[in-house]
């Protein structure tokens, strides 16, 4: 439902929006009191653990759990046989949570036990006898597309895949407009390049964890760390064959998600164990299980063809993207293909994306899913062409930048957007003209992300002493509770500390889309504003009753109900607290609520700038300086907006320089731990400067745009461009780990 008509976006002087108050959950988190997924216990609780396939691809011929079940302290063993046939919507999810006919990757769950202690559970796993028939496997995307590649599934390609392709090709997407060959003919220089990136993991520090209980009547309770407890409720209810009302899910505090916790892994299994044992069952993943068997992002293989005039105008842009999404269809290659050239105004543009399966864990979303790898290829190609032509990389981007009225490469016409503002601000920033020393180079890149809305419920309830309870349904992964309280306080005209925002369990609200797509400040924010407006209307009504005047003659201003003008009579204003105190006398408790499928989320653009220094003897790359320029529409809480910019940039740094999934010839993951899957540490990095631009989003009452995801899109190319400049050779393959950089230096 479009909200323009109801909400309006007139600019205003904000009292609270744009300030930096302390977050409500801050004290709990700095004292260790906050409860995360693994921090909950229940009396009589059992410990659940999962048995996982040691093979990358194998038929499961039989599972004999009798010895395990006989072990003292073991209460139940669960396999796929315990689950009834699921609906098509959740079939792949269930198969990923508990393998059926085949184990499709190293670490794929094949059975689970619930036992009186972790030690007994570990012992029990060893007693489960699984007979496997190992099959040939494939982990590389291009190898999986080749004729004769080992096939994971038969006949699952959809109607978009032409005849004759490997059965591992699930879908083909295509976007764009114009005529590429005509465009290339107009170019003075044409670049053809191929790029590769490896799979990476979101790397949240908190492993998946949950505590499940289920009674014989089908009523169930689940505590889990998730980005969307309503999604968990709906998915688990579908898998277990109960109604959504029977399962109440409470979201714990979440120790990072980034998209990796927008689906389920342990939860249906924990519920099934709880059902079978009649006891609460707690399940927590180890770090190795998180890396082996949750949802890393796709590895990619991308071909680019780009044509440019000698003045720097892009005449044609073509990309073919091949992504592997792990063992099931759904690699985010469609979004990669749509976002690849989104920052540019192009007459001739075409992207083709291939969704391919491999014997790897099922990919889950990772912060702007599909976009970073595509941007890596596109922004590297633009940079290489610009430098070849002797042109300034920022000026080339400005020359081709999309603006209001540009037809996007993925179809729609852009409304007001902030790309040029980020580019100009970057060009005029002192970072751009700072001097560079030997072995140092500077890189820039642009990025884009869609941002989403979705189903949202907010319930705002006022207590007798005039404090405001705000209930919403989106787990807080970045500090959003503070922003909701700020928006409610701004709207109601009360101090920030009079509002308390909580994340309600699934019994309290109807449905909420997961915390993803950079949607929470936007969608939950606008629902909060609408709920507050509803409460204000009710409070004006109460004041009108007390004063004996018409409802229409009462307005809300500066935290109080007031007569709208002298004709309405002389009545001193009634504050929210005063009206709350007499709520029972005037009809009952006061509340406002709002439910909406929020639409109209604004797109968001960024430009990143980075300086690197490369050690010519080791190939080690040091990040010297990093600046993020990104459009936030309206920064509700600037510290948390900066935090999103910085966090996304650093994940991009890790992806560019170090992080990768390494499989051996048997398809077994070699680096399933934080020592060898190395994410950036404090000593790797400089301060990350964050420049917030504000080009308001017309679809939100305060102009808010999502910010959480865009900041991971530019860093891969920005860093590759900087490293390429540092060493005088292009790096087209990520990660740019020291051996690869050294090889590039030596091959110059």
């Amino acid at each position: 439902m479009a909200l323009d008509s109801k909400t309006g976006t007139a600019p205003r002087d904000f009292k609270i929006i744009g300030t930096r108050p302390a977050r409500p959950d801050g004290i709990d988190k700095v004292t260790g009191r906050a409860r995360f997924g693994a921090d909950m216990s229940a009396p009589g609780m059992l410990v659940g653990r999962v048995l996982r396939s040691p093979h990358a691809h194998a038929r499961i011929k039989s599972i004999d759990s009798s010895a395990a079940e006989a072990l003292s302290g073991v209460h139940a063993v669960v396999t796929r046989a315990d689950f009834s046939a699921p609906g098509e919507d959740v079939a792949d999810i269930l198969d990923n949570c508990m393998a059926g006919e085949k184990a499709l990757y190293d670490g794929h769950a094949v059975a689970a036990v619930a036992a009186a202690s972790a030690a007994v559970a570990r012992q029990a796993l060893k007693l489960i006898k699984v007979e496997y028939e190992p099959l040939p496997h494939v982990t590389d995307v291009d190898a999986a597309m080749a004729t004769g590649a080992p096939a994971l599934h038969e006949g699952r390609a959809n109607e978009t895949v032409p005849e004759g392709h490997s059965p591992n090709v699930m879908a083909r997407h295509a976007f764009g407009h114009g005529d590429i060959d005509a465009g290339l003919a107009q170019a003075d220089r044409v670049l053809e390049r191929s790029y590769r990136t490896e799979a990476t993991h979101q790397g949240y520090i908190e492993p998946h964890a949950c505590l499940a209980s289920m009674g014989p009547d089908g009523q169930a309770d689940l505590w889990c760390c998730t980005q969307g407890h309503y999604m968990v409720r709906n998915t688990c209810a579908a898998i277990l064959g109960i109604t959504q009302g029977q399962l109440r899910v409470t979201a714990s505090e979440i120790g990072g998600g980034f998209g990796g916790k927008t689906t389920v892994f342990l939860e249906p299994v924990a519920l099934m164990l709880a059902k079978k044992t009649g006891r609460p069952v707690k399940m927590v993943m180890s770090r190795a299980e998180v890396l082996r068997a949750t949802g890393p992002t796709s590895s990619s293989s991308v071909d680019i063809r780009l044509g440019m005039t000698s003045e720097g105008r892009i005449t044609a842009a073509f990309a073919e993207l091949r992504y592997q999404g792990g063992a099931y269809p759904g690699a985010p290659v469609d979004m990669g293909a749509m976002s690849a050239f989104a920052p540019y105004d192009l007459e001739h543009v075409r992207t083709i994306g291939w969704d391919v399966v491999t014997n790897r864990p099922k990919a889950a979303a990772y912060r702007a899913p599909g976009a970073p790898m595509a941007a890596f290829a596109v922004e590297s190609a633009i940079d290489e062409l610009a430098r070849d032509l002797g042109l300034d990389p920022l000026e080339v981007r400005l020359k081709n930048a999309a603006r209001e009225g540009t037809r996007a490469s993925y179809g729609p016409t852009y409304p007001a957007i902030g790309l040029e503002a980020t580019l100009r601000t970057a060009r005029d920033h002192p970072h751009w003209s700072a001097p560079l020393g030997p072995n140092q180079g500077r890189g820039v890149a642009c990025g884009f992300w869609f941002n989403f809305g979705g189903d949202t419920c907010v319930s705002l309830n006022i207590t007798p002493d005039g404090t405001v309870n705000l209930s919403e349904g989106n787990p807080d992964i970045g500090g959003s509770r503070a922003s909701m309280s700020m928006m409610a306080a701004e709207e109601l005209g009360v101090p920030y500390d009079k509002v308390r925002t909580v994340i309600a369990d699934t019994g309290a609200l109807g449905q909420n889309e997961v915390t993803d797509g950079s949607r929470v400040t936007f969608a939950v924010g606008l629902a909060t504003i609408e709920a507050a407006r509803a409460a204000k209307r009710e409070m004006c009504k109460r004041a009108a009753q007390v004063w004996g005047i018409d409802e229409e003659a009462v307005i809300w201003e500066d935290g109080a109900a007031r007569p709208s003008g002298p004709n309405a009579g002389e009545h001193p204003p009634m504050t929210l607290a005063e009206i709350a105190a007499i709520a029972s006398n005037t009809g009952g408790p006061i509340a406002g609520h709002h439910e909406v499928n929020a639409e109209g989320a604004g797109v968001s653009f960024a430009t990143h700038m980075v300086d690197t220094e490369v050690d010519p003897e080791t190939g080690a790359v040091k990040v010297l300086r990093y600046t993020v320029f990104q459009d936030a529409g309206k920064a509700v809480h600037p510290s948390y907006v900066e935090g999103q910019f910085q966090g996304g940039a650093v994940q991009g740094i890790g992806w560019a320089l170090n992080e990768e999934y390494i499989y051996d010839d048997d398809g077994i993951l070699q680096n399933a731990g934080f020592l060898d899957y190395r994410i950036p540490v404090a000593s790797d990095l400089p301060m990350i400067d964050a420049v917030i631009l504000e080009i308001p989003n017309p679809g939100h009452p305060y102009g808010v745009r999502g910010v959480g995801e865009t900041s991971i899109v530019p860093p891969l190319a920005a860093i590759a461009n900087a490293v390429s400049a540092s060493i005088g050779a292009r790096m087209n393959d990520l990660p740019m780990s020291p051996p690869k950089v050294l090889a590039a230096i030596q091959a110059r």
């Binding site: 959809n158 985010p332 979303a365 899913p369 179809g411 797509g517 499928n597 639409e599």
Partner: protein, 81 residues
Amino acid sequence: MVQVTIWGSLAAATDDQTEVEIQASTLRELLDGLAARYPALKPQLERGVSVAIDGRIYNDSWFTPIHEDSEVVLLARLKGG
């Protein structure tokens, strides 16, 4: 009649036309109209699409109004992380 832009790979289902015209005043009527006129589009419509109306993205809101001069683009279903 509303003009709808069909993205690249779907054009195969609309006889290679990337711009089609459908009688519709809401999003639901648009999608139903497309399915009726171009049955080959049905698998993708069932998998889910997003629709951009005058530059803003809509997912499932059936009664979103569409005006004759609106710019309407059919997109892949968008989801975030």
